[in-house]
Amino acid sequence: MATITKQARNKIWAFLALGTFVGLLLLPLFLSLPAGAGDTPAPAASTASAAAAPADAKPVEKSRDVWYKTEGPVVGAPAPKTTDSAKDYPRYNFESRVILWVALQQHLYYGSFVLAVPIFCMIVEYLGVITKDKALSRKYDQLAYDFVKISLTAYSITALLGGIVIFTFLTLYPTFFGYLSSIFRPVMATYALLFIAESGTLYIYYYAWDKMREGFLKWIHVAMSVILNVIGTVLMMLANSWIAFMQSPAGVDADGRYLGNVWHVIHTTLWNPINVHRLLGNMAFGGGVVAAYAAYRFLTAKSDEERSHYDWMGYVAMFIGICFLIPLPFAGYWLMREVYAYRQQMGITLMGGLLAWLFIIQAVMIGALFLTANYYLWQGMDRMRGAERYQKYIKYMVFVLIMCFIVWLTPHTMVMTPAELKAMGGQQHPVLGNYGVMSAKNGAINTIITTTVLSFIIYQRANKIPTVKWAPYGNAFLFGLFTMAYVNIIWLAIYGYYIPANVRVGLSVPQVASTLSCLFIGVILNSIMLKGAKDVGPIVWGQISVRGQYALIMLATSFTWMMGLMGYIRSSVRLFWHVNEIMRDNSPWAFTHTIGFGANMISFNVLFFWLTILFVFWLGSLGVKKVPATAPVGQKVPAPAGSH
């Protein structure tokens, strides 16, 4: 009896705690709304007063939204016309833009890391809660805890860098910053409050870990991770609204005067594509960083237990990262489509004009990512007995991947000396020129992703023999599915050359659908088939070549570099505008950097980030006594859901 009442009391307390918690979370929202209306010439207030007293106030000037084309009352000042002077662009004896670039990029790296890691925690902690096996459950829980610990240090660095960004902005671009903050004032206030809420939640989440270890409290703890991530995501979306506004402004008129509708200013046409793309990108990036951390610990490990633990951790992180990497190209495709729909010029500058060379570098990086992911999976097959059956197929997959990359990397416009140009007889090569266009690229990348899925399916089966009755039929179906998917993807790529562009662009949808069919049908069918399958041998964590671990580090570095590159592309497509077509950049740095300079800057940022994050890792390792209770080498340890 006594225990039951104790449990019931616990429950009540838990509910109360959660309620207070949610209430506190919503508080900033309630606070920010009237606050916005009170001290700023906010939309509601001004329209209301204008409607109430039209007689004695001078008539409110109306103007037209540049994007939504709606009429609205002019409540803001026009975008300032800057001049190249110390007033608008105070400066050190250095390029201000580059200083801001470094500050922003570092802030973004840390920001995405601390946004991604709690999502990992949420997933892993949840896995721990639902797992029946006690030892396993504890292992998951410990992993999630380790993640948070790393992210805690990174979180304070993020805040620090955020401060640096604001100061840099204020001191180097005061006029521009003044204009942006005049429009986004209520958003910025909300942002600040949410940031406080995020900090609070994160600290409670971390420090209450041990107190909330059992029973219902654990569930609340899991719920807290959900809330933490909701706040984090909203924070990111608010920050995205600023950059989206700079790229595709809305909610202002052609002079840049704010029209009083804050939702229009936030919800610009590129906002949601950027939100989705960034969320997925953060996750892939976070996975990469954690995997690199695990690889680093693996390589420096002294004992088999350590190696086993960090091999497993690297695999889990890599797995989550790749899960988010696969939809990333599709999100990117959506973003580009929206860019083209917004301004065709902007799209062409990105993909075919001034910045096209950067996209070729991006293609190389994507190539590196997928090759590395495949390579890691193949190396991981060393952990299992029975994998020999499949290893002989690796060479064919390597071959398919390389062929696709040859197509994928063939530039549309080739770099060549005038002599080579003459020898070739024109800008376009009669054979390779055909690989330079979208049809071929789509075919290549979809084949690459399908092959990656195939690698994963083979990895899943490496140490298993399916025993279900319908296994032969299942295998035959998998064979048919993948064969025809390849045929279909390549056929659509070729078909694209024979039909007009407006029909051709539509072909990418069935191509993607084919790839996704393989991913979902293939992986699900395979998983069902492997239910109760005969084990040839256990997964021996830690028994993987060092090459596999270097692959993880390579993966993480590619992610970091690519993030820097894509951010640079997205930002520099505005060319000489602070806010596209609204506020012109009249500083002496309103030019596009050379490719070499850009690449060096990105490399510098990547290097800087990895040096500082190594410091964070080192800090994290100071507090660790020993690797937590791990299963002895050779025993079955968990793999993420769906992998076995």
Binding site: P466, T467, V468, K469, A471, P472, Y473, A476, F477, F479, G480, L481, T483, M484, A485, V487, N488, L492, Y495, Y498, I499, P500, N502, V503, G506, L507, V509, P510, A513, S514, S517, K534
Partner: protein
């Protein structure tokens, strides 16, 4: 082993493979057609006069 309760001959294996290829072909053709249809486009554009 449960799976071997019924012997599967090479001929049957080929038959199963061919059938699964046909099923997959039908599936992908339908997918292509449908994915184009929802965009308001005609998958069989080239084959229509």
């Amino acid at each position: 082993m449960v799976g071997q309760s019924r012997e599967i001959t090479t001929g049957m294996k080929i038959a199963i493979a061919v059938i699964s290829l046909l099923v997959a072909t039908a599936y992908f053709t339908f997918l292509d057609w449908g994915a184009m249809k929802i965009q308001g486009l005609d998958y069989f554009y080239m084959f229509r006069k």
